[in-house]
């Protein structure tokens, strides 16, 4: 018990790193993912096909492989990034592919008549997206998107394997000092659980709320 309490400050620092990594990745993946998703759904062939291939490739790889690949190979291209940014880049690339899929599903559920109506009053493509498509697609986008946020927090634990002192690695380090693995793992599990469960609940609440909005 004492062990758990004493280690709490150190774990909190790790948690901050986890949250920081997750936060950056979620933001980057949201922006990129929505852009890619729109490009996939509406873009001309020379845009849609590369995006499709990118998305399938990235999602077909284990996240760990992606992280290691980026982490080890990025320096070779001459870019001098810290391990933090290499790991973040890999995780962001991974999640952006998932967010792109979620976007694609949400956006393609909008009937073509909506696009035609938008065109008929003279709206440009981006205006149609912003004022007609996105507001309607939002309800199909949010619940699965929150699931990608949860999966990002889960995936962030893997950055501990390239030396980033996130919550996961902090737990390992405390165990290295105290030799009491079980209480620490339970404590760590609880912290992750609280964060992710809260997010899952939000997602489920949103799903239920939107179910009342008739088509």
């Amino acid at each position: 018990m004492n062990v758990m309490l004493n280690s709490l400050p150190f774990l909190m620092q790790g948690l901050l790193v986890t949250l920081r990594v997750s936060g950056i990745v979620v933001a980057a993946a949201l922006v990129l993912g929505v852009l890619f998703g729109v490009g996939l759904s509406f873009g001309p062939r020379w845009v849609a096909w590369p995006l499709r291939i990118y998305s399938d490739l990235i999602r077909g790889l284990p996240l760990l492989v992606l992280i290691f690949c980026v982490y080890y190979m990025l320096p070779l291209t001459g870019l001098n990034v810290t391990s933090f940014w290499a790991a973040v880049a890999a995780l962001a690339a991974f999640q952006s592919a998932h967010v792109a899929e979620v976007t694609r599903g949400a956006v393609q559920s909008i009937p073509p008549g909506q696009h035609e109506a938008g065109k008929s009053i003279g709206l440009t493509f981006s205006q149609r997206m912003i004022y007609v498509v996105f507001p309607q697609a939002l309800r199909r986008f949010l619940p699965p998107w929150i699931n990608t946020v949860v999966s990002t927090v889960q995936g962030s634990a893997l950055v501990s394997l390239v030396g980033i002192v996130d919550l996961m690695l902090a737990i390992q380090q405390v165990i290295g000092r105290t030799f009491k693995p079980m209480p620490m793992y339970i404590l760590g599990a609880l912290i992750y659980f609280v964060i992710n469960y809260a997010l899952s609940l939000m997602s489920r609440m949103l799903e239920a709320r939107f179910a009342y909005v008739r088509e």
């Binding site: 008549g113 909506q114 008929s120 009053i121 003279g122 440009t124 205006q127 007609v132 008739r214």
Partner: protein, 261 residues
């Protein structure tokens, strides 16, 4: 653009969907202030023709000019270049369309539906756009439904919002694509009443319709399409009244009239 030029000029229009050539050379003039009804069996190309005018469908050959401007292609510097997104948006802003399935924006109220184009395309301020939108909605008889969402409106009411949305943009020509086909019979009248008033007020219109009585009453000219071409064209009296010369038109009208009973 001289005063005598037709507002919409279609010449030799061709369009194929894959192997199916839907439009096989259509010629049509729509003078300003006139109402042209386009009738024909399904597959005759009438809806495709309409949708080519505001480039919801691209056309392969021929030309469509609205107020002297070629809709689908840029013909300056001698080459025929397909128009880009932005140019098309500008051209479409001046061409209004009302759809068979209404296509109202479900997340916006009636007023907001009409306001959207006014604010984002015509650049009006919020208050100005709202005032104009409400004015049009009152004109089509929906004064008590200004803040209603489309899901709260009947089919006829939704279609009238659709009309308001299109005409609020002050288009040069209004395209109406079978606007009463999806309505319950008792709701058709209220929509046709609005269209009649617009015609009376001088709006140039092209309508594709199955309502023969209406077409006869409101049109300046009626066009019968068959097999991707204009088969018969004339005043309503000529097309509907006198024993039709054209065999396929005769057959078409007979089928329609039988159904109306």
């Amino acid at each position: 653009m001289s005063g005598n030029d037709p507002l919409v000029k279609v010449r030799g229009l061709t369009k194929s969907f894959g192997a199916n050539q839907v439009l096989q050379g259509v010629d049509l003039d729509v003078p300003k202030g006139s109402v042209v009804s386009i009738i024909g069996a399904s597959g005759s190309g009438k809806t495709t023709l309409l949708r080519c005018v505001n480039l919801l469908e691209t056309y392969d050959g021929g030309s469509i000019e609205v107020d002297g401007v070629e809709v689908g292609y840029d013909l300056s510097d001698g080459r025929r270049r397909p128009r880009g997104e932005r140019e098309l948006a500008g051209i479409r802003a001046d061409i209004g369309m009302v759809f068979q399935l209404f296509n109202l924006f479900p997340h916006l109220t009636a007023t907001e539906n009409v306001m959207l184009g006014l604010r984002k395309v015509r650049g009006m301020g919020k208050a100005e756009a709202r005032a104009a939108a409400e004015q049009w909605l009152v004109r089509v008889g929906l004064a008590d439904k200004l803040e209603s969402l489309p899901i709260e409106l009947s089919g006829g009411q939704q279609q009238r919002v659709g009309i308001a949305r299109a005409v609020a943009m002050n288009p040069k020509v209004l395209l109406l694509d079978e606007i009463t086909s999806a309505l319950d019979p008792e709701l058709v009248g209220e929509v046709l009443k609005v269209v009649r008033e617009l015609a009376r007020d001088g709006m140039t219109m092209m309508l594709v319709t199955h309502e023969m009585t209406f077409a006869r009453d409101v049109s300046s000219r009626v066009v019968f399409m068959d097999g991707g071409r204009v088969a018969v064209e004339g005043s309503p009296k000529d097309v509907f009244g006198a024993p039709a010369q054209h065999e396929r038109l005769r057959g078409f009208l007979a089928r329609i009239e039988l159904r109306d009973i």
